[in-house]
């Protein structure tokens, strides 16, 4: 017993006191900024592995970006990645970062359904479905609940049964094999319910976007409440995105 208490004591304080304001130490590729510098835009477009960069006008789609950083390393004056991890949004459009525009990514309060803040602002139980995810977003979603990020303090938790859930968090590009299980799981969640897409693969298919092994039909037939970019998502991106979603009132 004494030993256990000692171990506990030795851990010190591990939790992040305020996950909405903490700065990420070290290198982190969050929200990019595209300057007005003149560069060979065709070369820039060409080097991106996931066609996240398009030209005329030049923009980066964070729903497709894998945050590999190759573009900013090749054109450091043109593209810089800031450490801003608050890059989730309820609008797919908002994930597109345009040249010369330096504004943070936000949720559009107008399009947040009223039930979300009515029912979920103090407690949100989520069912995670991995549909072809490589396991990295899943690791990070798991980390959201660990002693460091401690998402549970906001009443946000992952649960085992869809019957106990208020929403679904999808990772992976949605393989053919997972299309039906995903639908069954979603249907088993009681109304009202939300859908969150976590990670580049889920949002756009990522590097797998043109694979013949996918079936992304589910996304065409349902409304998405939150897009969380990243490859994998950073726990802070996820937690802040969800908090904004459930606490935002019109």
């Amino acid at each position: 017993m004494i030993n256990n208490l000692k171990i506990l004591f030795h851990q010190g304080k591990q939790y992040i006191p305020d996950v909405t304001t903490i700065e990420i130490p070290g290198v982190f590729r969050g929200l990019p900024i595209i300057s007005n510098e003149k560069v060979d835009v065709n070369a820039l477009e060409e080097l991106c592995p996931t066609k996240a960069i398009t030209i005329n006008p030049l923009q980066i789609d964070l729903g497709k970006c894998t945050f590999c950083g190759e573009c900013s390393m090749a054109f450091p004056k043109k593209i810089t990645f800031t450490k801003d991890y608050k890059i989730a949004s309820n609008s797919r459009e908002a994930l597109i970062v345009k040249q010369g525009v330096e504004s943070p990514i936000k949720l559009n309060p107008e399009s947040i359904r009223k039930e979300i803040s009515d029912y979920f602002s103090g407690s949100l139980k989520l069912r995670q479905v991995c549909a072809g995810g490589d396991g990295s977003c899943e690791l990070e979603l798991g980390a959201c609940g660990n002693v460091n990020f401690d998402m549970g303090r906001y009443g946000i938790e992952f649960v085992a049964s869809p019957r106990h859930a208020d929403g679904i968090v999808i990772t992976g590009p949605i393989t053919k094999g997972m299309a039906e299980p995903l639908q069954i799981c979603y249907d088993a969640i009681p109304e009202p319910k939300i859908i969150i897409l976590a990670g580049t693969d889920a949002i756009s298919g990522g590097i797998f976007a043109d694979s013949p092994a996918l079936n992304r039909h589910f996304l065409e037939t349902h409304t998405i409440d939150l897009y969380v970019p990243g490859n994998p998502i950073h726990p802070l991106t996820f937690i802040n995105g969800v908090l904004e979603l459930i606490r935002n009132r019109k």
Partner: protein, 498 residues
């Protein structure tokens, strides 16, 4: 000559692989496996016009060689299977059957492996997998998945139970199939292929990307730099520490040892945060590139890592002492999920799962690459083959990795970010690249055509060998102990399904 002998990461002309008549091919390769120093690292087929070329890669772990042989067979001619002589070929032949339809005779079960989008038989669907069944009044079936209770990848487990006791478990995979091997050919840019390699299995990003980077450099006749050797070795050992620590946390969770669960869980954080500090990504995506390095390992990073590891070690040893002395933990881990040495050899286990049952199999020592030839790695072996052995291996391998990293940090090579233009790959070549990831051996093979374009890419994750061990390990266990076995093996679904 029955086979051509190559070394790890060596490219050879594709047509220098001897083509044997099938019966000779079968006899030769199954005889090789009678030697305990040999194991099958890859066996697969490629379409050659209307036929299939079977390529078998057997590693001899004693003399650091790989023996390659091949055979050209038709699509419809029934063939005697390898698996009846050695079970280790079982999964490989199922894959060949699934991809091309070749009927193998006397195979224990030619069931689907991963339902690839380009399977030969389109009538096989993931919803109608032919599970083994027993007609009985006393026994019952338990189906779990594809979606599991936790935040993990999908797969279906079908148990046949007698009350609480598991008699049989069959594991059906394939839900994660993303067509990666085909995408490797479709996507022509190097950066796209790096990105694919990084997304094969999210817990082995360094492992798979390193296997690809080594393969590509060798195929393009570019010498791997000192810096790359150093960075890749270091990253591989860091990945091992991170995942093993996370696994120890998961195993503590599964035996309801809350303290261990929380402490190991938080100890993983500084290690993956170090990856973040180094390359901006906690899982090390973006770190490994063939031909260049975007994130050179500097002396400052070295100092930082030393501090991280020092702090880690004290707390890690403290919690490990408590965990491995706790009767509640030992009671659940000991004699749970046993794989005997003989079964392990029959299945052809690799990696940590092989070493926990006293099979000395570790690519770091048997087919060394990067700095492992100077490290002189000695694999850690355990004898009992149970969940306890797996936990202890993780514990001891973490200690070992820390020692290796400390030694590596004494000689950080000079570094730069110069990007060289990669030359075209050698035409008409075959290459095989192996590394030892934290889970076990990762093997990538590639073939190029006359223009030096990739025409075939084959990925083998260690999970491909080891899933069968999980199914066998839980026999006669209580079904409530299943999660412990599952976590202690921690096999990859995505790496298996590709």
């Amino acid at each position: 000559m029955n086979a051509i002998v190559i070394k790890n990461n060596q490219q050879i002309p594709f047509d220098s692989i001897p083509t044997l008549e099938y019966n000779k091919f079968l006899e030769y390769n199954t005889a090789l496996l009678q030697n305990e120093d040999c194991h099958c690292v890859n066996y697969y087929g490629i379409a050659v016009q209307e036929n299939v070329k079977l390529i078998c890669c057997i590693a001899n772990d004693k003399d650091a060689t790989i023996l390659l042989s091949s055979s050209l067979v038709g699509l419809e001619t029934p063939l005697e299977c390898f698996a009846q002589h050695h079970l280790a070929f079982e999964k490989f032949e199922r894959e060949i059957h699934e991809n091309f339809g070749i009927p193998f005779l006397n195979h224990p079960w030619l069931k689907p492996v991963r339902y690839p989008f380009n399977a030969s038989n389109k009538n096989n669907t993931i919803a109608n997998y032919p599970f083994f069944k027993i007609e009985s009044e006393e026994l019952h079936e338990v189906g779990v998945g594809p979606i599991h209770a936790g935040i993990i990848e999908p797969g279906h487990f079908r148990f046949l139970c007698n009350g609480e006791q598991i008699l049989h478990l069959e594991i059906q995979l394939g839900y994660q199939h993303r067509g990666i091997e085909t995408l490797f050919l479709q996507k022509k840019k190097l950066i796209e292929r790096h990105t694919l390699a990084e997304n094969i299995s999210g817990d082995s990003v360094v492992g798979h990307t390193t296997a690809f980077a080594n393969l590509w450099e060798s195929l393009c006749n570019v010498e791997t730099t000192e810096q790359a050797h150093f960075e890749r070795t270091l990253a591989l050992e860091l990945e091992r520490i991170a995942v093993h620590t996370g696994d120890l946390s998961g195993m503590c969770t599964d035996v309801a040892y809350q303290l261990g669960s929380a402490v190991y869980g938080r100890l993983r954080t500084p290690i993956i945060n170090f990856f973040q500090l180094w390359c901006g990504n906690r899982i090390a995506k973006g770190l490994i590139r063939s031909g260049y390095s975007n994130f050179p390992f500097t002396n400052e990073l070295g100092e930082k890592l030393k501090t991280v590891l020092e702090a880690f070690e004290t707390d890690f040893e403290e919690i490990s002492k408590a965990t491995f002395a706790a009767p509640t933990v030992l009671g659940r881990l000991e004699k749970t999920g046993i794989i005997t040495n003989q079964v392990g050899k029959n299945i052809g286990l690799v990696g940590m799962a092989a070493r926990m049952t006293n099979i000395n199999r570790d690519i770091r020592s048997s087919h060394p690459y990067h700095l492992y030839s100077t490290i002189l790695h000695q694999p850690i072996l355990k004898h009992h083959g149970d969940a306890y052995s797996r936990a202890r291996i993780k514990y001891r391998e973490i200690q070992q990795s820390i020692t290796y990293i400390k030694t590596l940090l004494n000689a950080i090579p000079s570094h730069n970010t110069t990007k060289i233009e990669m030359p075209k790959p050698t035409p008409n070549a075959f290459i095989l690249s192996m590394i030892e990831g934290w889970r076990g051996e990762i093997c990538h093979c590639a073939i190029t055509n006359a223009q030096g374009e990739l025409v075939h890419y084959k990925i083998k994750d260690p999970s491909f060998h080891n899933w069968l061990a999980m199914a066998l390990a839980v026999r006669n266990n209580e079904i409530s102990d299943f999660p412990i076995s599952n976590k202690s093996f921690n096999l990859s679904y995505a790496g298996h399904d590709l």
